[in-house]
Symmetry: C2
DNA sequence: TGTACATCAGTGAACGCGCGTTCACTGATGTAC
DNA sequence: TGTACATCAGTGAACGCGCGTTCACTGATGTAC
């Protein structure tokens, strides 16, 4: 990479960093090219060397956020752990940690859509999937190692309900991932999502003194209800 | 109420209705006095006869949304039902229905905070509480009628965790509402909140063919895990 | 019932501001010979 | 190594636009006598 390319990459990252800073201060919907340029002490048109318009910048921020979340989960998933179940637990803890340390990124990807912005799905959807697939993969590991025995409720679906991945999913094919595992994944996901959302927007704090302990506790109960008997003694 | 007062009230409601319409079309963050006036075919300064600034209008919209949700839940709670548990079930179904039929109102009250707006807590917090208290009240009814026996997990909290209402809560005093019931309420709330949020922002649809059936099913499992054995035979 | 006055919803002009985007340009950095 | 040229990051002026808010006003509706 040439010197010029390095500088260019550096500026590009700085633009996104300042955009994030701006969101931190005035909310997700407040990304403004003028404000970014002002803070970088360059003129606004200069930004058009890096993004062809505002939407492209927003898309980059969204993709970055999804990727950073997925990277974080993957890193935790790779740490040694006494059991697959404990690995899963640690990854789900990391999910909340990431949300709390990157609140605006979390809002950006899982909260209200931005006004006057329409996401190009071909870019955001694959990025969105990666993080969830980390969780699915560990659930599958738990299952294959015999640490997870899905209860009957998740095997027999009520009439009219079906849960599955689209057959063209690049990372899983239907045969390698039993539907029951996906089902557990979706259930686990909405559990943690609900707690995190309520905490992030301060709806839970008036009633629960320590959302961190609450989260851990609920995680344990949830994993048990999904069919993980013990967290550690594999 | 005089003719003048009636007209005034009517215009006030129209302003809010058009603001909601506007949010429906361009997102929660897009409420604009100019745009509202344009659509009403009056001039923008005329709006200042009804709201002293933009924030006051936004606050009114938020309070309205919380109130409408609470009204809806209360109405469903008053319908005859074969048991308290079924009443609870119906109210939780109504919660999702309201969210789906009023998506922008739901985003407004439970999603990202609006840019350049700071909510006056003394107005929004009481409005926010009403809806949740409908659920708490039915949980209490279930408990008192013997349809709900909270499992041990929700009686013994882990060290450091406590769950409770602030003592000055106008509608409940600590003695009338056991902490365990509040605990179950918070747990139930985050369950439905997670599912609804994921559905509202289209994160669950790629995997679940019918979110409505999924929601019902999970509701049943959840109520059982909270200590409600049967939905109907009281 | 008719007149004089008060109330108040809505007007129209103006304000200062920030926004995204375009364009022709400058001047420093990198490349080819 | 030195010169001629190409690349390209950033400038500065300009655009049309929408925003919230203020102000002095008009004119219709309601009230008091």
């Amino acid at each position: 990479m040439s010197r010029r390319e390095r500088l260019r990459e550096q500026t590009l990252q700085e633009i996104k960093a300042i955009a994030r800073q701006q969101m931190d201060e005035s909310g997700t919907a407040s990304i403004s090219l003028n404000a970014i340029a002002r803070r970088m002490e360059i003129t606004t048109p200069a930004l058009y060397r890096y993004f062809s318009n505002r939407d492209e910048l927003v898309t980059a921020l969204i993709v970055d956020a999804f990727s950073d979340l997925a990277d974080t989960l993957e890193q935790v998933a790779e740490l040694p752990a006494p059991s697959q179940a404990r690995r899963l637990f640690n990854v789900l803890l990391a999910y909340r940690d990431w949300a709390l340390t990157h609140p605006v990124d979390f809002e950006l990807i899982y909260g209200n859509p931005l006004p006057n912005y329409h996401a190009p799905e071909e870019k955001t959807v694959p990025a969105a999937r990666r993080g969830f697939e980390v969780i699915l993969r560990i659930l599958l590991d738990c299952y294959q190692d015999g640490e997870l025995t899905p209860p009957a409720e998740y095997h027999q679906l009520p009439a009219g309900l079906s849960i599955g991945l689209s057959p063209d999913d690049p990372n899983f094919n239907p045969s390698s991932l039993p539907d029951v595992i996906l089902h557990l994944g979706v259930v686990g996901w909405y559990h943690i999502h609900g707690m995190i959302m309520l905490e992030l927007f301060h709806h839970i704090q008036p009633m629960v003194n320590d959302p961190g302990i609450f989260y851990q506790r609920e995680l344990e109960l949830m994993l048990r209800s999904l069919g993980i008997e013990h967290l550690d003694s594999s």
